[in-house]
Symmetry: C2
Amino acid sequence: MAKSISFARGAPSLDIIDVDGLRDAAARAFANDPAGVTAYGTSVGYPPLRDWIAERHQVDPKQVLVTNGSLQADAFLFDVLVEPGDSVIVERPTYDRTLLSLRGRGADVRMVELEPDGIDVAAVERVLAAGARPKLAHIIPNFQNPAGYTLSSAKRERLLELARGHEFTVFEDDPYVALRFEGAPLATMLSMDGEQVVYASSFSKTVCPGIRVGYLIGPAELIARVAKVATNTYISPSMVAQAIVLEFCRSGALERSIETVKAALRERAEALSQALRRELPDARFVEPEGGYFVWIDLPRGTDVGALFVAAAERDVHFVKGADFVLEGAESSLRLAYSGVTPAEIEEGVAGLAEAYHALAPGAPRAALAQRP
Amino acid sequence: MAKSISFARGAPSLDIIDVDGLRDAAARAFANDPAGVTAYGTSVGYPPLRDWIAERHQVDPKQVLVTNGSLQADAFLFDVLVEPGDSVIVERPTYDRTLLSLRGRGADVRMVELEPDGIDVAAVERVLAAGARPKLAHIIPNFQNPAGYTLSSAKRERLLELARGHEFTVFEDDPYVALRFEGAPLATMLSMDGEQVVYASSFSKTVCPGIRVGYLIGPAELIARVAKVATNTYISPSMVAQAIVLEFCRSGALERSIETVKAALRERAEALSQALRRELPDARFVEPEGGYFVWIDLPRGTDVGALFVAAAERDVHFVKGADFVLEGAESSLRLAYSGVTPAEIEEGVAGLAEAYHALAPGAPRAALAQRP
């Protein structure tokens, strides 16, 4: 294979980033607010961006804290809310860094199966009925990482009922919300219940990752506690980066960028689905309606660890399903299509299929298009 | 008093920040390396800036980690090195946020008196002889915050001998090193012993605070451990902010900015010393040779808590000495001259003196210039 093709990293390719828009936003940031941009600022973030986010989500600015990327927001929130031994519900599978962060804090992580319409709320009820008293339920509601699935409206409502009844916080981790390219958007849980929900999102997927701007929204009292941890950790996040994001948003470049990104993701997701159906008919997956990821289940018994090695030998890379769970998922994998063009997707899936067939010589090699 | 005058915050005033230089650096950053600037990057920092810093300090790039400000670097280092109960030597007085950070981690903080030529190394020896086994000694060698004092060459050497003999790390926290406006620069302890020293510095004082770019230099193995903590905390710091700093440095704007800042600080320090000698002859202080701060000792028995209130009523602000120690320093205060013009310094010292004389009516009101 001529060049390395990575389905591993959940990151956009350079061609769908508005670099000129960022350069212009930077020039305006220094021109419009030199004092605010160059001074220390405060740990709640660059105040005009905080206001912009608050308006976007229809909350009080006191409920918003803007951080150096949203993973940092998670870390601060966990610092405040999660003590060793506290139980925390997470989806199975879920984002590997969240798992690591919770386990690093000694949390009692309870994984609950993720279904194509979101976390299995009946299973959450069973966990609660069995006596668990979770502090938090960590939920990635839209185009989940790693599965690509979206939590249905009915399940959002039910989860909030459970949170109120059992007094836990729903941590709605929502970096992909703006990237819906099919179907109708759903209301955020934050908008449905401002008391029970802490919400996180990011500009990594709509502006660019390298700017490192994410945010947290929650009850003002909680945000004040998080802000104190943030002050003691880094005084303040980059005012320069946050002011560039603000100017980018205000100018309309954000909405244009989102359209560019969505169009590319739609095309890439379609190319991936078609290539998988054609080249790897054993793969079972749900076609995504947004976001970056497709979760692939291969036939039980498939050794995805071996597939990982065989694919890498063909210079095709992905993340093993096992990395997103505490145990199991040995026959699953995550493919990210955000950073690869349709041509690269064709080539990458061909390499992946070749690796798969080398390991499973008897498996079907091609098929008519079929939806799982 | 017409307007609030703050000697409280260790931050530069806007007039000594090269805002146009920053704007131009930002434009070049997006033009020269759009892929590197907009992508996630890695937790060790923007690689070309890491290389630049390594060259500046004559170390291997693997020894450098560039962070979101240098306080964040401290936090990561303490996460890796300091366990609850570990003893850590710090200067008395020292930077309040370092104290808070160490105490928050349950460290056994051993304060050792700071003298005008730096930490009392004989007292460090006594602490060691008494059986202390410190993990770290935190030292701000140049123009210390809050005292403004500088560690002499002889004491630097002795401290390193002690560190080698007693197997502790010297954490050389050096954000003010470039701001010497009098006297000859001293070699960093890092350059004297690369094994025993972890070094931190920052661009907050030479570029601007709002960019939030600091760094850590240490043994490559330790830096790799710190990088892992950083990855799990925020994936990576802002590549955009770090690329702007790199372009600012490369273009020569950094050296020009340092000259501007030093000239202003020299003028401000001189204005402050003169005003203090004239208006507040009871104040004992060492005239600074660089940096942002002057430490003032008032006669024993002076209630600086009351002075703080009386000065604030006159809209003059400072930080109480007691904030920089675990106990004591009730008659001392820190004045930062970095963010105030000579005219503001005149007015602020007049207000401070008025507050002091209101509390101590019998104290001398004016004096000929005298050096303490």
